[in-house]
Symmetry: C2
Amino acid sequence: MNTVNHQILLASRPQGEPSTENFRLAEVPVPELGDGQVLVRNHFLSLDPYMRGRMNDTKSYAEPQPLNQVMMGGTAGEVLASKNANFAVGDKVVGMGGWQDYFVVDASQRGVLQKVDTTHIPLSAYLGAVGMPGVTGWYGLVKIINPKAGETVVVSAASGAVGGVVGQLAKARGARAVGLAGGADKCRYVVEELGFDACIDYKQHADLKSLSAALKAACPNGIDGYFENVGGMILDAVMLRANAFSRIAMCGMISGYNGQPIPMMAPQLMLVNRMKVEGFIVSEHMEVWPEALKELGGLVATGKLKYRESVAQGIAAAPEAFLGLLKGKNFGKQLVQLV
Amino acid sequence: MNTVNHQILLASRPQGEPSTENFRLAEVPVPELGDGQVLVRNHFLSLDPYMRGRMNDTKSYAEPQPLNQVMMGGTAGEVLASKNANFAVGDKVVGMGGWQDYFVVDASQRGVLQKVDTTHIPLSAYLGAVGMPGVTGWYGLVKIINPKAGETVVVSAASGAVGGVVGQLAKARGARAVGLAGGADKCRYVVEELGFDACIDYKQHADLKSLSAALKAACPNGIDGYFENVGGMILDAVMLRANAFSRIAMCGMISGYNGQPIPMMAPQLMLVNRMKVEGFIVSEHMEVWPEALKELGGLVATGKLKYRESVAQGIAAAPEAFLGLLKGKNFGKQLVQLV
């Protein structure tokens, strides 16, 4: 093939807040296929907050993103050519294709490429509610928070790909769901579209006292479960309203991703309230994916699980869209559409 | 009876650091026995850090200690008179007798008074290694940290009634046990008498960097479990050395008991390291007491579980001994001996 593949590479590591200068657009030819390999045309790239951590060269749970290589990330697309008996031209697939138009993968390795059924579920949903973000929300809610009917579950970044799933699954289990989101539009969406019981616009609360009062009003029976995506003052405010035996699923702390200090004000509340706090990474719990995806897929296919997408167009738009995601400029799942 | 009962009452609530002025000695007659009641002569009072929290009138897991009433607390003693068929004069018993020479209790209520066997276990041990502090250590170590052989367990206040048990139980399970204690004497005791692999004198480390380096040296394979008694800088230093999937049992945070702020510097480490952090109160887990006491009692009776006691003499010495405990002046389990 003589097709040109456009790629976004990590050009340099950010010092503090990242910028478009940390990325570089490259053009390379699409390679020939070897035995067992499959050529995939990426239709959608998934942009996710965890990618910020991998831009740093520091010890973390994941290997750092190597410099001058294609930004890693989940993708959904279509098989254009195959030398693998398990994949045929036209198959819809998800995988870790990275920020590029095309990728070639040895599909004989189990799990690197998954065929998906788009009869009742849109392809892009496999990067959101029926993909990694959905399972992330499912794991934290079901396996860590595990709410009983009547309990109150709070989730930050509630309009996002993960947070929206958390609240809707909590509601489905008979819990009260309270979101935190940035701005009146997002809050309205969280309540009116996603069906949360309440949503607090954190931008309206400049200090802990104000935010804590808003949480008290929205959670008259206190907080039994919290799904953490942001950290910082929001975590402190939630802890002030946490009930005895409450649980926190620690999924992300985006407020500290650029290196800002985000101390927890009163860790003694974990003791006073006999809390369980658990950090997790969904890729380390592959054993729950089938069960989670079954529930999530069923809910999306029947229209019971709602979500929203922010879709940037074209590979060159990926860096800007990613930087916006880190600042909460997206509204729902942030994607880049390539086809 | 015309016997005089000496009692220590809570006279006022402390503002910040408590002092002897918050306590008052009272003399009252020992009351007559009613049906079902038992008169106990307290031989030992147990002084425990949790009592500091109850001196405040703030929301916590336990009811505040009422003003002008006998300080609540565990006691070990002997039955002097009984109108209850289950208790006979001369029985050795433990209960919540409070800071006083004698107490009368309706012993028909299950659990308020326990007969104990002092054939192989000293009476005072039922307030320490074979009592609430021992079960506290057992619960945090076995039910939360649950170390595998070869893992490293760190415990603060390692020479204390709880910490000493934690480290010795960790060793018995094949783990590496590392203590933190205040002063060379305590550290020597923790290693030479209790058999920990190492002990760090936290008083030799004025800042986080220094303490973290000491932990690195003492825990070359990182930290898999931490039993928290103190909070503050020690917790921050431990978290910097925590391994993936490490567990923290939150038992106490004595460094913040007088209201000092004790923020957790980097809560994002709970996420990065996929940690589990759990606060607990042993009285809420009565279901484990039989199993725990069986192991602890067996180990003490056979000399395999070692402990040390600081014993103040006479009821009037209780306030001073308690204030010393809060400052780490005790060495091992702090008791007051009355007989």
